[in-house]
């Protein structure tokens, strides 16, 4: 039982990290950024390229090196997210919502197949991997690497929450989410704040990408597709646009999958997880912590 909970929480923390970017972007400009999962993929490949450039690293240094790579990759994917917004989404900001959605799908394909052209279709394997010894805690087997990754995810999420709720920057984001026109009348540089939102969301996805690469080892150009869908689902479960809700949504989805597999077997996992999602949304369309539709953050 504790093993199931731990499996669910571990996977769920990846979902939550990726889902945050979805949620923030939706909260602020009401855009479903379907290319977001591909920024996760981009992060995994950026980390791979940086590790390759650094060269051979002894395994005792693995953790500090990976943390450094994590930070650099977050900057790289953050900038990629900003560029994506500038090129693909900003020119369409006043266009119908549907055009923006189609552009996002297009951006997703462009990133996936652009990466395929650049890095090839073969899966790549991280040169540096977090394996490590496992330990038993209350009947669940977990590794130090897993604990570190969950720790990093929690730190990133707490940091994000502080940023949004405690800083001027965060206040500006929340103001734009409520009413962009009035915000700009109050002297907020709307474009700059939106760019920064994309930077933060994409950096988090990039961090998740590096963590997945370092833990699971295998990366490929389509790896962002499925997790993008899952993250979107997690964001909706938690209440899209609501940051604590999104984190909770990621963990809930991870747990649903873990228990669905255990109760019904692997082939019924998605039927179970998404069936619960449909049921849940018919009862509570705003998600776990989502509030009235007009008050998204």
């Amino acid at each position: 039982m504790t093993q199931l909970i731990w499996n669910g929480l571990f996977v769920g923390s990846f979902y939550a990290l990726v889902a945050l970017g979805y949620s923030m972007v939706y909260g602020i400009i009401k855009l479903l950024n379907f290319a977001h999962g591909d920024l996760y993929m981009l992060g995994a490949f950026a980390g791979f390229a940086i590790l390759g450039a650094v060269g051979g690293v002894s395994s005792s240094m693995a953790l500090p090196v990976l943390l450094a790579v994590l930070v650099v990759t977050m900057a790289v994917t953050g900038l990629a997210g900003v560029a994506l917004e500038r090129i693909a989404y900003r020119p369409l900001r006043r266009a119908p919502r549907l055009s923006l959605l189609i552009t996002a799908v297009g951006a997703s394909f462009a990133l996936e197949y652009g990466m395929r052209a650049a890095a090839g279709a073969d899966p790549r394997v991280y040169p540096l991997r977090l394996g490590g010894s496992s330990l038993e805690v209350a009947g669940a087997r977990l590794t130090v690497a897993q604990l570190v990754l969950v720790g990093v995810a929690v730190v990133l999420m707490i940091g994000l929450n502080l940023l949004v709720t405690r800083t001027r920057e965060g206040r500006a984001m929340r103001a734009i989410a409520l009413d962009p026109t009035t915000s700009s009348l109050m002297g907020i540089d709307v474009n700059a704040v939106i760019s920064r939102t994309f930077f933060i969301g994409s950096a988090l996805a990039g961090a998740a990408g590096v963590m997945a690469g370092a833990y699971y080892g295998k990366i490929d150009f389509l790896m962002g597709f499925l997790i993008g869908l899952k993250a979107f689902t997690a964001a909706v479960i938690g209440g899209i646009g609501n940051i604590p809700g999104t984190m909770l949504g990621g963990l809930v989805l991870g747990l649903l999958e873990s228990f669905g597999t255990f109760w019904l077997g692997g082939e019924w996992r998605d039927v179970f997880a998404f069936g619960v999602l449909i049921l849940f949304l018919t009862v509570r369309p705003t998600g776990l912590l989502g509030e009235r539709v007009t008050e998204r953050v």
Binding site: N7, P123, S134, G217, K218, T261, G266, E267
Partner: protein
């Protein structure tokens, strides 16, 4: 005469039209046109995944096919005619495959030597059939491909039934008591798992502990593995592809599983070892038809491949290579590219040497001997463990 730009463009266009007209006349020649195109190359068409989830496989197959084409051409070709390879993308998807097959037919393909994903190969059977083009399918091996008993369809990869039999034989030989079967819910993978289960269910020998389906293309299979380990199996058999296979082997070992792991032929790739990591991959068994690595005298072939493409051959490289050689052999025996004659020649072939052993087709147009053997990962290399003879 001083031509205005407009008239020169018009005359260019006219020339171009004439040229394409000619081209179609020659290529669309069809049956009986052999004498008219004795100097034309023999065109082999190959549908393979070049985009989509299985895009990594495409180059392994097309490179190996090109290698065979070049080798045969270097020896003077077939019937004095050169071979030419044309590839098209099936994206492992039925609609793209049908479009790709139609494209190859209009390009005047004489023999089809492609087909990797069974689901994508199935809709191309009537397209090539109508155009009277024989199909030598190197990799796709679903039972559905031969169930329709189409005259022009030949499979040169072992079938699921043969693979399941080899798997069960090895499990029994290893004294396995309780077997967990894992598949990825695609028709190919599930087929092998279910056929293995049927064999295990017979009295005596090992029993099936559970069948676990996973979702392909994910990274974390810990939930599935928790299920598997709860049944305490001493043998795990994964029948899907190498990307998930590597992750599953690694995560099984991380979860403390000590028993045997075996994978199906879709997982036999150096990438499996790389993804699993050397420690987790060590000792993993595989059911596989003969590969360049396990075939005596194939070192030269691997070298030639590496020299030409700067990379190792991969899954189904050898089958693709053999498909081209077999097509050339059949066209040579038939004395031309007439579909019916080539089919008759293929049916008559007996003892043609391929990687899978001497070839003779069953009345179903499958290999009479699947040639499955057991490989093992040793010191990071996939080598022969037992030929199950």
């Amino acid at each position: 005469m001083r031509a205005t730009p407009l008239t020169s463009i018009a005359s260019l266009a006219a020339v171009a039209l004439l040229a394409t007209g000619c081209g179609q006349g020659l290529l669309g020649g069809g049956d009986g046109g052999d004498t008219a195109k004795t100097n034309e190359p023999i065109v082999l068409g190959m549908l393979i995944p070049q985009s989509g989830s299985e895009a990594a496989i495409g180059p392994y197959m097309s490179n190996a096919a090109q290698l065979a084409v070049d080798e045969i051409n270097a020896k003077g070709g077939v019937l004095g005619r050169k071979l030419q390879l044309k590839t098209a993308d099936d994206a492992c998807d039925a609609q793209s495959a049908a479009a790709g097959a139609n494209k190859l037919v209009t390009e005047g393909v004489d023999v089809s030597v492609g087909g990797y994903c069974s689901g994508a190969t199935l809709p191309t059977l009537p397209i090539f059939g109508k155009a009277n083009i024989p199909m030598i399918i190197p990799a796709a091996n679903s039972q559905e491909l031969v169930d329709q008993k189409l005259k022009h369809v030949f499979l040169i990869n072992g079938t699921g039934t043969q693979q399941a039999a080899a798997a069960e034989k090895w499990m029994t030989k290893q004294g396995a008591k309780s077997v967990a079967l894992m598949h990825d819910n695609t028709s190919y993978s599930k087929d092998i798992a279910l056929r293995t289960q049927t064999l295990l269910d017979a009295p005596g020998g090992a029993d099936t502990a559970l069948i676990e389906a996973v979702t392909p293309k994910e990274s974390d299979y810990s939930a599935n593995i928790t299920n598997v380990l709860a049944k305490k199996p001493d043998f795990v058999y994964w029948t899907g592809y190498f990307q998930e296979g590597g992750l599953i082997a690694r995560q099984l070992r991380q979860a403390g599983y000590k028993g045997s792991i075996m994978v199906g032929d879709g997982s036999v790739s150096p990438k499996l070892v790389e993804i699993a990591g050397p420690e987790a991959a060590e000792g993993v068994y595989a059911t596989m038809t003969q590969t360049p690595d396990t075939l005596e005298g194939a070192e030269g072939w691997i070298e030639a491949y590496k020299k030409k493409f700067g990379a190792e051959p991969g899954p189904y490289s050898n089958q693709a290579y053999d498909a081209v050689r077999l097509a050339a052999e059949a066209v040579g025996k038939a004395g031309g590219t007439d579909g019916a004659k080539v089919i008759a020649a293929l049916e008559a072939i007996d003892g043609f040497q391929m990687f899978s052993g001497p070839l003779k087709f069953t009345p179903e147009h499958t290999l009479s001997n699947g040639g499955f053997q057991i490989l093992v990962v040793k010191d990071g290399k996939i080598i022969l463990q037992d030929s199950l003879k």
